[in-house]
């Protein structure tokens, strides 16, 4: 079976002004979104108390909210956990104003808070029970944010150095720009649809960096190969051909990865829901940027055959391996 014309010669670079322009617009939109809407940071980052409750019979979110209101929890955020029986209730640490034990959310008397929440829920519906509760201190979340930024910078730098050594510095710049593009769009998407940015989403964003760079490297690798083989090197032609020749692989791998993430999305339950959703979006963005974004940038940076020649020395050795 084949989905793609093996001899396709689509002029991807010809539409570079449109595609890169669109990418820049989307990146700006993401920045604006992040500035205006921000991220819906989960408990992992904000600190506070989270209670997950289970009902024997289906329950409406409003009903849960009303029950909490009656119990004195005025600032509780109630969400459904994919079904009609499981809800998560989040109490911010700064939600101190009165209320039955709401102030305790700050002091870490998490079990007391959880107990009070359960009491409030059971007052309205006796079939409620607790399935978990979490308490996170504000400092932990702060550290996690820092760790996440450090990790992202570490990945980006590591990848940049590796590509600069194995390819050439212009490839490294193009890769990093594409990474920034993919991460910005993914985070912008998270902000847009308002899913909670929790630990697993952070892990997904970092995994997206890894996934997307994998995609770029395959296209770059083909460009490098074509540059070295070509008698007369016309970067425009070569970069276009490298996209076309790897197109089928780029999309096939996205499809298999997307299939697995779809399986996780469908079967994995609420614990990995946000993770799978972020991954799915990131895969789409990463694939599109491999095709429409990375090579135009490479072209503009002015990559040419001569840039790739000095490193040929160590290449045959590697290429000979199975």
């Amino acid at each position: 079976m084949e989905f793609f014309n093996p001899n396709s010669r689509f002029d991807f670079l010809g539409i570079r002004k449109i595609t890169v322009g669109l990418s820049i617009v989307l990146m700006l939109a993401s920045v604006v979104l992040l500035g205006v809407r921000g991220l819906n940071y989960a408990l992992d980052f904000t600190g506070g108390v989270l209670v997950e409750a289970k009902y024997e019979e289906p329950v409406a979110i409003d009903q849960v909210r009303a029950a909490l209101e009656a119990g004195g929890f005025h600032n509780a955020q109630v969400q459904s956990l994919g079904g009609t029986r499981d809800v998560s209730i989040r109490l911010q640490p700064q939600a101190v104003e009165g209320g039955a034990g709401e102030g305790d959310a700050e002091k870490g008397n998490a079990d007391q808070v959880a107990g009070n929440v359960l009491k409030a829920l059971q007052a309205a519906r006796p079939d409620a029970s607790l399935s978990r509760h979490d308490f996170v201190g504000p400092q932990v979340g702060e550290d996690l944010k820092n760790d996440g930024i450090v990790a992202a910078v570490f990945v980006v730098l590591g990848i940049m150095i590796y590509i600069a050594i194995r390819f050439e510095k212009r490839f490294a710049y193009a890769a990093i720009l594409s990474e920034v593009h993919d991460v910005l769009l993914t985070v912008g998407f998270i902000s847009l649809i308002g899913i909670e940015f929790d630990l697993t989403v952070l892990a997904a964003v970092l995994a997206i960096i890894g996934y997307s760079i994998n995609d770029k490297v395959v296209v770059f690798d083909r460009a490098r190969e074509l540059f070295r083989l070509a008698r007369k090197s016309e970067p425009y032609e070569i970069l276009n051909r490298s996209i076309n020749q790897t197109l089928s692989r780029t999309i096939m791998t996205s499809v298999t990865t997307a299939i697995s993430m779809l399986a996780l999305f469908i079967g994995g339950g609420p614990a990995v829901h946000n993770f799978a959703m972020t991954m799915l979006f990131g895969i789409v963005v990463g694939t599109l940027s491999s095709i429409f974004f990375a090579n135009p940038i490479l072209y503009w940076l002015g990559v040419s055959k001569t840039d790739l020649m000095p490193v040929t020395r160590d290449d045959p050795e590697l290429a000979r391996r199975p």
Binding site: G268, M279, L318, P322
Partner: protein
């Protein structure tokens, strides 16, 4: 055909067999068990085994076997007997009393020989089995404070010793400030402090009025050492206390520089756990009353008025803690201790613990020892566990106090703030004692900064959903590969299966805890692992289209794809490793799986598929075409 050497076939076969061997333990269902271990040195032996057996038979609890090993008894119950398990625990607890810890556990049913070669099942994270997770922040400010005080004492003593007159020695910001009367004194003092107190760096400060100042700051490596010690001893203390909780497999580990993560599988009641974790410890030095008979006092309850009856940590020949009578008066308390460390005695080379007190403590000790040479002195470890009880609707706060004598030694000579305890049995005993002394005297306050409680049913739910997601993902990718790449798809699928097996077996062998993010990592790995096969298949297709023969296409496909596979996987590995560096356990678990998955997939997708492909196509007849999902119009032999 020598392009695929024999040793590579052998390698593939050996690795796959090992993968299966180390992956298989995960298929064994764990059985409910009750674990009985000793609290404070009570004997665990055949007699105990018989006793336990008797209790269970009398209570009509069905059990399979009772295993006795070095430190514990493990009663195995039939699979699915969770109610009986709870009843067995109740019965045993009631019968064995305080001296033994009876904990619920899940026992592995993996055969012994597998355990012997390190093949075992993956431990499950709290999100898959339910339990309590705490993250505790250690505050080492007090400890640091006390260390500075100690350096101030040391500097004072050194200057006094060398007869340098100083105006004052006091605490300054981040160190000790010494004020002297003249520039000459200052130069001399700097030299002396640098020599006598090697842990500080001395810098010349300004001149305030007629005072010439020196600023002594603690060296950064010493500060790191102090905070490292603080956290290590907190980990040890928490470990001891949690053992008393009776949790089968608790996990206590340092996380970052100042935090300790505690995981208690199966526990749901955080209040009880917190109470025990929140206990505070201190030390007291007491004189031993040699004129009274402690055993007699313990039996009759008649204790001399100036004395108090204590028990030693060690047990006597009868298995009971040894009683001892100590004078009520406290010589020196834990607040006055600044350090305790184990090091061999410089004179005899035998294990010893050296203790340093502060100036006040030293003075009291000097006063006491000058009258008591040749007499024994004891160290009591006191632990206060806060308790809150509701009496008549009001909260009553009280504390449960446990006291234990951890060391008794004879005073050999007069000493003040520095002394040694010698005559200890082994280096281990010495370091244990030093650790106990430090945890009593230098305990840093611990705050709970994160708490997660996961109900057991949620854990079960997660595991079911996780397995379901892995299966759906796996099967969909398998089908997709077969439809698109035909025979080569099947080969890739075989490799993908072995990738899953290898991934699980490596995770099991190195003891990675399986968590929900870890399962997400497994599913992601399944999707990404076929990337190498896609690269290879696409390359082979290209070669076929260019008119190469099937065998040449295979060879060229594998050769040309390799550089790409290497580059793309190494860059992805950067992301995996970065995830590993994150402090949070959830993200780390995901990163570990992703990183291992990248490595195993490089092996299975390239080497394993190459071996299989080669095996299929290396028959006597040269294949005319390849089943790779495309039709090549003129596949001619060249």
């Amino acid at each position: 055909m020598n392009e695929f050497p024999r040793w590579k076939y052998a390698l593939v076969v050996v690795v796959l067999l090992l993968g299966v061997l180390y992956g298989v333990p995960n298929l064994f269902v764990q059985q409910p068990a009750v674990q009985v271990s000793a609290n404070r040195g009570a004997p665990v032996d055949e007699a105990l085994k018989e006793k336990v057996q008797g209790v269970l038979e009398q209570g009509k609890v069905p059990f399979e076997t009772i295993d006795l090993n070095a430190s514990q008894l493990l009663v195995r119950l039939p699979i699915g007997a969770s109610e009986e398990q709870a009843r067995a625990q109740e019965l045993l607890k009631a019968d064995l009393g305080d001296q033994y810890i009876v904990a619920l556990n899940l026992a592995s049913t993996v055969p012994g020989w597998m355990h012997a070669i390190g093949a075992r099942e993956m431990p499950k994270g709290l999100d898959l089995q339910g339990g309590v997770h705490f993250l505790m922040q250690v505050d080492d400010k007090d400890v640091m404070d006390r260390q500075l005080q100690r350096y101030a004492d040391d500097i004072r003593a050194a200057l006094r010793d060398k007869q340098i007159r100083y105006q004052s020695v006091g605490r300054g910001p981040g160190g000790v400030v010494v004020e002297l009367r003249s520039a000459e004194d200052r130069t001399a003092a700097q030299r002396i402090i640098e020599m006598e107190v090697p842990d500080v760096t001395v810098a010349v400060g300004g001149q305030v009025g007629d005072a010439y100042t020196l600023n002594a700051t603690v060296k950064p490596e010493k500060i790191t050492e102090i905070s490292q010690n603080t956290i290590r001893q907190n980990v040890a203390t928490l470990g001891n206390r949690i053992n008393a909780l009776g949790v089968a497999e608790p996990l206590i580990q340092q996380q970052g520089d100042t935090r300790i993560a505690v995981e208690l599988p199966g526990v749901q009641d955080t209040a009880e756990a917190k109470k025990i974790l929140g206990a505070t410890a201190t030390l007291e030095y007491h004189a031993v009353d040699e004129n009274a008979n402690a055993i007699e006092a313990a039996r009759s309850g008649h204790v001399p008025p100036d004395d108090k009856l204590y028990y030693r940590r060690e047990t006597g020949p009868d298995g009971q803690p040894i009683p001892i009578l100590l004078k009520k008066k406290v010589i020196v308390s834990g607040d006055e201790m600044v350090d305790a460390s184990s090091a061999p005695d410089p004179q005899s080379g035998t294990p010893a613990v050296s203790v340093t007190l502060n100036a006040t403590g030293g003075r009291k000790m000097l006063e006491f020892t000058s009258q008591s040479v040749g007499k024994p002195m004891a160290v009591v470890y006191v632990e206060r566990t806060p308790e809150v009880k509701i009496v008549n609707g009001e909260e009553v706060r009280s504390a449960k106090i446990t006291e234990e004598v951890i060391s008794v030694a004879t005073i050999r000579g007069v000493f003040s703030n520095k002394f040694q305890t010698t005559g200890l049995g082994s280096a281990k005993e010495a370091s244990d004692l030093a650790l106990m002394l430090r945890s009593g005297a230098l305990a840093a306050p611990v705050d709970i900064v994160e708490e997660r409680v996961i109900g057991p049913s949620l854990g079960k739910d997660n595991i079911e959903k996780g397995i379901k997601a892995v299966l759906i993902g796996f099967v969909s990718v398998l089908l997709f590969m077969i439809v698109y790449y035909r025979l080569f798809g099947i080969v890739a699928d075989i490799a993908l299966f072995f990738n899953l097996v290898l991934l699980l077996s490596i995770m099991s062998a190195i003891g990675v805890t399986l968590t929900m993010p870890g399962i997400a990592g497994i599913v992601l790995t399944l999707g990404m692992a076929v990337d190498a096969n896609v690269l290879i298949c696409e390359r082979i297709r290209e070669e076929l289209r260019n008119g190469s023969t099937p065998l040449a296409s295979i060879r060229a496909g594998y050769e040309k794809a390799w550089a790409t596979i290497l580059d793309s996987n190494v860059t992805t590995l950067f992301a995996g490793v970065a995830l590993l560096t994150m402090g949070s356990g959830a993200i780390r678990g995901f990163g570990i799986v992703l990183s291992i998955g990248i490595l195993t997939s490089m092996f299975t997708s390239v080497t394993v598929t190459h071996a299989i492909t080669h095996l299929i196509h290396s028959g006597k007849r040269r294949p005319k075409s390849l089943s790779i999902g495309i039709k090549v119009p003129h596949a001619s032999a060249s």
